[in-house]
């Protein structure tokens, strides 16, 4: 049960949504965009999240976009993870989405909700970081293009879509997820690798406190003429922060799995990839 009362709104357009959000805020209310709702509901029933107004954004047409536009792929933030995976448009994104939560939950979880979640895994961000994708973010001043590398939403800003170059979506890729025990669980390590034709790009979730892509580590992995083991060892030295140490897994074990996954992923990619 959700122990608090809240008003329910369903704006029909992006403009309505951001205006409504701003108005409620101005009235001293505590509104929240409601997408798949999986985080809002699970946190809400524990009292870890409280709101008095939910703005259900799933019926806004732009958030349901899925397809091609020019040489780009367009993913609406309101798409469920299953819809994203089943579209087959972006194989790496599909692979990542397919191993996030269980099938029933993926019928609810949305791309936007996953990208904006407060749980620090946000696995679906990795394919977008690797492909230098862009987000369409709506604010009261209208829409803005924001590089996925810089995506940080201010209160009231709405993530509308993500645009990815079609050619990038077809780069050879590998992704590996390691969990504590269960298949359905947050990652101890989620690794995503692509080869852009010149070199390998690498992004990670579950390793450090937030998901990240590291150009530094990529440089190490791409150093010419150096054996793979040495490149990986150097890449690991360049981790951007401390490895997470928590109830899912110790930093030691995560590091070990990361090393092993990198070895597995790099070998697969350099040997052809998908």
């Amino acid at each position: 049960m959700i122990p608090f009362d809240f008003d329910y709104y369903r704006p029909d357009s992006v403009g309505q949504a951001v205006e409504l959000y701003a108005r409620l805020r101005a009235e001293g209310r505590n509104p929240i965009y409601f997408s798949g709702g999986t985080e809002i509901i699970t946190f809400g029933r524990l009292g870890q999240l409280v709101t008095d107004a939910v703005l259900d954004i799933k019926s806004i047409p732009e958030l349901g976009a899925l397809g091609r536009s020019g040489d780009h792929l367009v993913f609406g933030a309101g798409l469920t993870l299953n819809a994203v995976a089943e579209s087959g448009l972006f194989p790496l994104l599909g692979d990542v989405a397919r191993h996030t939560a269980d099938h029933t939950t993926r019928n609810k979880i949305t791309l936007g909700g996953n990208l904006c979640a407060s749980i620090p895994y946000r696995e679906t961000v990795l394919p977008f970081l690797l492909t230098d994708s862009y987000a369409v973010v709506a604010g009261r001043q209208g829409n803005a293009w924001v590089s996925m590398h810089e995506l940080r939403l201010a209160p009231g800003e709405l993530l509308v879509q993500i645009w990815t170059e079609q050619s990038a979506a077809r780069w050879p890729s590998v992704t590996i997820k390691k969990t504590k025990q269960d298949e359905v669980d947050y990652p101890l390590v989620r690794l995503a690798l692509v080869h852009d034709g010149r070199g390998v790009r690498a992004a990670f979730s579950g390793v450090c406190e937030a998901p990240f892509r590291s150009w530094d580590m990529e440089d190490a992995l791409n150093t010419p003429g150096v054996p793979l083991e040495t490149r990986i060892a150097e890449a690991l030295r360049r981790l951007p922060g401390q490895v997470i140490d928590d109830q899912l897994g110790s930093a030691d074990y995560r590091y070990y799995l990361l090393h092993h996954s990198l070895r597995e992923g790099m070998s697969a990619l350099e040997g052809g990839g998908r």
């Binding site: 122990p3 524990l46 025990q181 269960d182 109830q247 074990y253 092993h260």
Partner: protein, 777 residues
């Protein structure tokens, strides 16, 4: 036999599959109030003050009850637990107050406004630490608590019960042994995660009659306890139990029922519901016990066991309640199904600042079996003997005595060697215990042998009443609770068999009402089919006597000349002369309307014949019989990441004659699944203040449907002469050996001995030396 042994589909299946079966909370009642618990954020603290003024001021709040309002102390054997924490909290999540309001939301909101001031105390984090000199005491004067039965708390220590087995001469047996092993196993508390969280409703009617509706396995115990703790006349207490959504022992304890009753008492007797959220069900209501076990075994060079020393330190949590009884059940069968002439055992229900414990499917046996079966494998390795051969050589059987010195015979124990031999065959053991695959993965097999008796109170029993419908079908009433185990269908089969009718003509009452259904001790301990089955046979025989009486009156013959078949009573040797049940069950109406004979009402009962155990030696009869089993697990292990997959799980059980074949197979499968879930992943995690870190299913994982391995189940059927048609009991057994068998298989695969649960990849990785060097790669 016509009905017994057949795979009769469960009678309740259609209602359940279509979502029509009703559980405790499904009935919405106008005017019902809701109680919401205020729980402790500390594992050990003094309660300085409780300020409920802000909560009481919330519109819709009808009352607030705290420990000061209900100071009755409760407990199965040792009354150490207040209904709501009073002056002190002893575990994280302990109920401190209950806020009663018109609706659940208001109660919930107001509960957040109850301000409790605590003075935090140092915590006790494990049984072994609890016993260290200077450990903080959870209960300062444990000896002063009222006792209900044989329980031996130790003054000045964190011990709620200390039980002993002294069998044979341990010292000389130990010296006679040449090969010796020592094994220390440990795991922390976990939870049952029954699909339906616990819930209770209570109402006190103006005439004083108390109605309790609850998700419980123990309606008659609730009735008794309402007398024991609140002085109520049991005739004025009515407990109603609809379907129960899984129990696994969790619902054998009584907790929310007391709180709901005190809440109702505080609001003029109005109907109040107190139900758990999933999170509360995990940490505020009693959980699955933890255990630290130390086992020493000695054997002759050819593998014959000569002595065992067994120390069981149960993590019973903050209150002794069922842990005190589990300490007994665990020691009753502490050697496993092996012939060990000299045994020195101690079993301690230890207090810690964890959620208090209650029975878990297998009642102390999955826990002890894990320790014993690890030790047996260690011994086999040290002896250089095949693990199956070692178990066969030492298997206990007729003519030998159990740890509590019950003499076994052909009837009171199943056939241990037959189960092991059948398991060996099914697992194709001869093909090898360990195989390295071309991809580097390792496939191994592990086994466990097990036994269990019921360890019920000495007066546990069951009753049954059979009444007839005009059509000749019967209604069967018992006090057994349907918790998903299918007992009621098996009971219908037993009644049908005796009455020579089809099981579909036996209508069972699913809802239990303690005012009208005859008493049944508790629906636990794999004992319901056996006990209620016996009562039903007596009830059926009673009904048959009456049917014959009616028929004899009409046919002008002696009842002795009559016989029963296919739902008819007829003259022996002359089947045409007779009546269908429907013609005589309500008396016989002759053509002119004159009715002779009586309405047939069959009644029967059964009480186990047990004795108490001697406090110094443990001698006594803890249960009527021992079902036995052998279980196995096959795994595929990845030596790099230490991840593994359970490929197959096996159970060969001797549960006596099997009443419902398919029902028994599914019970074993469910049991194996539960045992594997516990062994592979389930455990509470605590911070250094003993607060639970994972009190929700997001981080407390259980296996999902579809993650189960292939399962193979087979039966050995050694009849138990006292059981109905030779049945013993099977409900819990599938769970018992899984952790031991899995740990044995993984120890062989990983090349290191694994002594802790759950068997997480990281745990195995660490046991193999991972993380111990500077660069872990």
């Amino acid at each position: 036999m016509e009905s017994v042994g057949k795979s009769v589909p469960r009678k309740e299946s259609f209602d359940k599959v279509e979502g029509r079966a009703k559980y405790t909370r499904d009935l919405r009642l106008a005017g019902m109030l809701h109680g919401k618990l205020v729980t402790s954020p500390h594992a050990h603290a003094k309660i300085r003050s409780i300020d409920a003024a802000a909560a009481a001021a919330v519109p819709g709040v009808r009352g607030i009850v705290t420990g000061a309002d209900c100071q009755e102390l409760t407990g199965e054997l040792l009354a150490d637990r207040p209904v709501l924490a009073y002056r002190k909290v002893r575990y994280y999540g302990e109920p401190v107050a209950v806020v009663i309001a018109d609706d659940e939301q208001t109660a919930w909101r107001a509960a957040g406004l109850v301000h409790v001031e605590y003075e935090v105390l140092p915590v006790v984090s494990s049984p072994s630490r609890a016993l260290l000199p200077g450990a903080p005491l959870l209960h300062e004067e444990v000896e002063k608590y009222k006792r209900y039965g044989d329980v031996y708390p130790v003054p000045g220590m964190n011990i709620g019960n200390h039980l002993k087995i002294r069998k044979g001469d341990f010292q000389s047996g130990w010296e006679a042994g040449v090969v010796k092993v020592e094994c220390y196993t440990a795991f922390r508390p976990s939870d049952h995660i029954a699909m339906e969280p616990r819930a209770a409703r209570a109402e006190i009617l103006p005439d004083g009659e108390v109605h309790i509706r609850a998700s419980t396995q123990a309606p008659y115990v609730i009735k008794r306890f309402m007398e024991r703790y609140f002085g109520l006349d049991p005739g004025q207490v009515v407990v109603h139990v609809p379907f129960v959504g899984g129990g696994f022992g969790a619902k054998g304890a009584v907790q929310l029922e007391f709180i709901a009753y005190c809440a109702s008492r505080a609001v003029g007797g109005r109907l109040v519901e107190v139900s758990n959220s999933r999170e509360e069900d995990m940490i505020s209501s009693p959980c699955h016990i933890g255990l630290e076990a130390q086992i020493k075994m000695a054997a002759t060079p050819d593998g014959r066991l000569t002595a065992a020393q067994i120390t069981l330190l149960w993590d019973g949590g903050a209150y002794a309640d069922m842990a005190a009884v589990m300490a007994k059940a665990g020691i009753d069968d502490c050697t496993g199904p092996y012939r060990i002439p000299n045994v020195w055992a101690d079993s301690l229900a230890v207090y810690t600042n964890h959620t208090y414990a209650t029975s878990f499917r297998g009642f102390a046996h999955p826990e002890v079996t894990f320790a014993i079966e690890r030790t047996m494998d260690l011994l086999a390795k040290k002896l250089g003997m095949d693990p199956i051969a070692l178990r066969l050589l030492n298997a206990i059987g007729p003519g030998e005595t159990t740890p509590t010195q019950v003499l076994l015979d052909e009837s009171n124990i199943g056939n241990v060697p037959a189960c092991i031999l059948r398991l060996r065959e099914l697992m194709d053991w001869e093909s090898g215990q360990r195989v390295v695959l071309p991809n580097g993965r390792i496939r191994t097999k592990g086994i466990a042998a097990l036994w269990k008796t019921s360890s019920t109170p000495t007066d546990a029993g069951a009753g049954a009443v059979l009444i007839f419908n005009k059509s000749g079908s019967v209604n069967l009433m018992t006090g057994v609770v349907e918790i998903g185990q299918g007992t009621k269908t098996a009971l219908a089969q037993i009644a049908a068999e005796r009455l020579t009718i089809d099981p579909s003509l036996v209508h069972v009452s699913f809802e239990v009402n303690t005012k009208t259904n005859p008493e049944h001790w508790k629906t636990v301990a794999s004992s319901s089919t056996m006990m209620a089955g016996r009562a039903i046979l007596e009830a059926a025989d009673d009904a048959i006597r009456q049917l014959k009486y009616n028929a004899a009156l009409v046919l002008q013959v002696s009842p002795d000349e009559l016989e029963l078949a296919e739902g008819r009573v007829f003259v022996r040797g002359n089947p045409q002369r007779g009546f269908l049940f429907r013609e005589i069950a309500m008396g016989y109406e002759s053509e002119n309307g004159l009715t002779v004979g009586k309405q047939v009402i069959g009644r029967g009962s059964y009480i186990v014949k047990l004795t108490r155990l001697d406090p110094e030696t443990g001698d006594g009869r803890p249960g009527p019989q021992w079902s036995v089993a052998a279980q196995g697990v096959e795994v595929e292990f990845d030596p790099v990441e230490c991840r593994y997959q359970v490929l197959r799980a096996y159970t060969v059980i001797d549960g006596g004659v099997i009443v419902n074949h398919r029902g028994a197979v599914t019970q074993m499968m469910g049991g194996m699944s539960m045992g594997l879930s516990w062994a592979t992943r389930e455990s509470f995690l605590y911070d250094n203040q003993e607060r639970v870190l994972n009190p929700q299913l997001r981080f407390y994982k259980i296996t999902h449907f579809g993650e189960n391995p292939d399962m193979v189940v087979d039966f050995v059927q050694t009849p138990y002469h006292e059981g109905p048609y030779g049945a013993r009991g099977i409900g819990e057994y599938g769970t018992i050996g899984m952790a031991g068998a899995l740990a044995n298989a993984l120890s062989v695969a990983a090349g290191v001995e694994l002594f802790q649960l759950p068997l997480l990849p990281e745990t195995i990785w660490r046991a193999r030396g991972g993380g111990s060097v500077h660069d872990p790669v």
